[in-house]
């Protein structure tokens, strides 16, 4: 019984870290991994999703619907942003850094000016559950499930549907895709919108567990970038194992040596993994598979 409780605790910690990495990086994986746009406003889409979720939930919408609302609004904002700004920056990834950083500044400070420096959150639903002599938040188990579902859904969308194939083609050779009849603008708009919606979803899912401030997106940034990059060129093959490895390292170090080592260890692990596998995990997995 004792052992089972310990095992559960370990699995829970790992799953928790894994879910956080996967959920927070999914939107970035689409926008950066698929489109090559380095989106420094990723955190602000997360914030947008969280704010909308909190606002709609407190207005009486059931939480799951409120979260979807958050994702939807973030997605729409993303599509608008794509049309106004990002569209001009494809294949200028380095310029997209500057532009999206600008967007991020405007969004953070704009929200601060308009909505004030904080916003009241929504409480975490479902309460706790006791296993052995410890108690755990049930909602966190939901988050873990959501992470797995998200990975499966994205893989299906990008590898098993024509939209996904066309989107990948468009991002790689837009001119050629156009010459083959692809309405590239629409594809871009939808893909970016999807990435933004996924970020919004992350915000919505984590809204009940976090402080609502305009800068809240920043907490997700480093982790999501690191996960996506360690994953490597092929995001969907790489992101899940990357999240798993980083989560294991983080959870392990945090458990044994405390949060500081968890934090530093995560970053050092990133450096080491990239050094050992310069193409990221996906390149390695591809090679191993053949």
């Amino acid at each position: 019984m004792e052992l089972a409780a310990t095992l559960f605790s370990t699995a829970y910690q790992f799953g928790d870290a894994f879910a956080f990495l996967v959920i927070s990086c999914a939107g970035l994986a689409v926008i950066f991994g698929m489109m090559g746009v380095i989106n420094l406003a990723h955190g602000e889409f997360i914030m947008c999703g969280a704010y909308v979720t909190a606002a709609t939930a407190r207005a009486g919408l059931p939480l799951p619907l409120a979260i979807l609302c958050g994702a939807l609004v973030a997605g729409l904002v993303g599509m608008a942003l794509e049309r106004a700004v990002i569209r001009h920056l494809y294949h200028r990834p380095l310029d997209s850094i500057i532009a999206t950083w600008g967007v991020s500044l405007i969004a953070t400070q704009g929200v601060l000016i308009v909505l004030g420096s904080t916003m009241q959150g929504v409480g975490t639903p479902l309460g706790g559950v006791a296993v052995g002599d410890r108690s755990y938040s049930l909602y966190r188990l939901v988050l873990m499930g959501a992470a797995v579902a998200l990975l499966a859904g994205l893989y299906w969308l990008f590898y098993r549907t024509r939209f996904g194939v066309v989107a990948r083609a468009t991002i790689e050779r837009p001119q050629m895709a156009r010459a083959l009849g692809v309405d590239t603008r629409r594809v871009y708009g939808l893909t970016f919108g999807l990435g933004a919606a996924l970020a919004g979803l992350a915000g919505g899912l984590y809204a009940p567990t976090m402080t609502m401030v305009p800068t809240m997106g920043a907490t997700f940034m480093v982790e999501s970038f690191v996960t996506v990059v360690v994953g490597g060129a092929d995001i969907f093959v790489g992101a899940a194992p990357a999240a798993a490895i980083l989560a294991a390292i983080r959870a392990g170090l945090t458990a044994w040596y405390g949060q500081l080592f968890g934090q530093i260890g995560l970053l050092v692990a990133v450096i080491v993994v990239i050094r050992i596998l310069p193409g990221g995990l996906s390149a390695f997995i591809k090679r191993a598979r053949r």
Partner: protein, 237 residues
């Protein structure tokens, strides 16, 4: 002019940004024709093809496709209307598999035809064998076949073929010639072919245009084109 042409180009000017490469090109292709464009390096053959495909915006002149003014139409609409473009240098999607590359080709034909993978595989068996390989790791010749197959899937009415023989082994050059001609016979697709390979021109084209410095300077009849000397004369300095 006559309205039976699949493609009619009048006074076409265009190029890159400030730089005009095409200086008033006129040509016409009737349905089911295979027409060659020849000319030395840098005269603007590929530029012409890109402009016809809609990837470059003309600065003057008109492009009529199927009798319809397509001058201002975007590349993707042209493709869906039946213009299949096979660029010089192939431009396959390197990280997509062969099969996925062909899937992208389906888009052009969506609504007009059902994708005929059988036919493509018949013409280019290697594309079936390597369906799951990433296109970027194919050899040059394999990529060329993929590029043609990808255009075929979209059931085009007009194919713009830019130097298809470049880097292709002789037997496949012959195959390509044979296949394109067969395709042309079976589906009535018209072909505008840019080439430097004499054999291919001679074995495929029904007539031709000679380009020089952004202009069509001569038109070659069927007789002229089958006599190698006329072609050779135009390709030498």
């Amino acid at each position: 002019m006559n309205s039976g042409a699949v493609l009619e180009v009048v006074g076409l000017c265009g190029g890159y940004g400030g730089e005009t490469v095409l200086q008033g090109v006129d040509l016409a292709i009737a349905p089911g024709e295979i027409v060659a464009v020849i000319g030395r390096n840098g005269v603007g053959k590929s530029t012409l093809m890109r402009t016809l495909a809609g990837l470059l915006r003309p600065t003057a002149g008109r492009i009529l496709f199927d009798g319809r003014d397509a001058t201002a139409e975007s590349a993707d609409r042209r493709a869906r209307a039946g213009v299949g473009y096979i660029p010089q240098g192939r431009d396959v999607f390197p990280s997509l598999t062969v099969r996925e590359n062909l899937m992208v080709g389906e888009v052009a034909g969506a609504g007009r035809s059902t994708p005929d993978y059988e036919a493509v595989h018949r013409f280019f068996p290697i594309l079936k064998e390597r369906a799951r390989q990433r296109a970027g790791t194919l050899s040059g010749g394999q990529q060329q076949q993929l590029a043609i197959g990808r255009a075929m899937i979209g059931a085009p009415k007009l194919m713009l073929l830019d130097e298809p023989s470049e880097g292709i082994q002789p037997s496949i050059v012959k195959d390509i010639a044979r296949n394109v001609r067969a395709l042309n016979r079976q589906t009535g697709v018209a072909v505008l072919l840019v080439e430097q390979n004499l054999d291919l021109i001679v074995s495929m084209a029904e007539r031709g245009y000679v380009m020089e410095k952004g202009r069509v300077v001569a038109s070659l009849s069927r007789e002229e084109i089958t006599s190698r000397d006329a072609v050779r004369r135009h390709l030498t300095i």
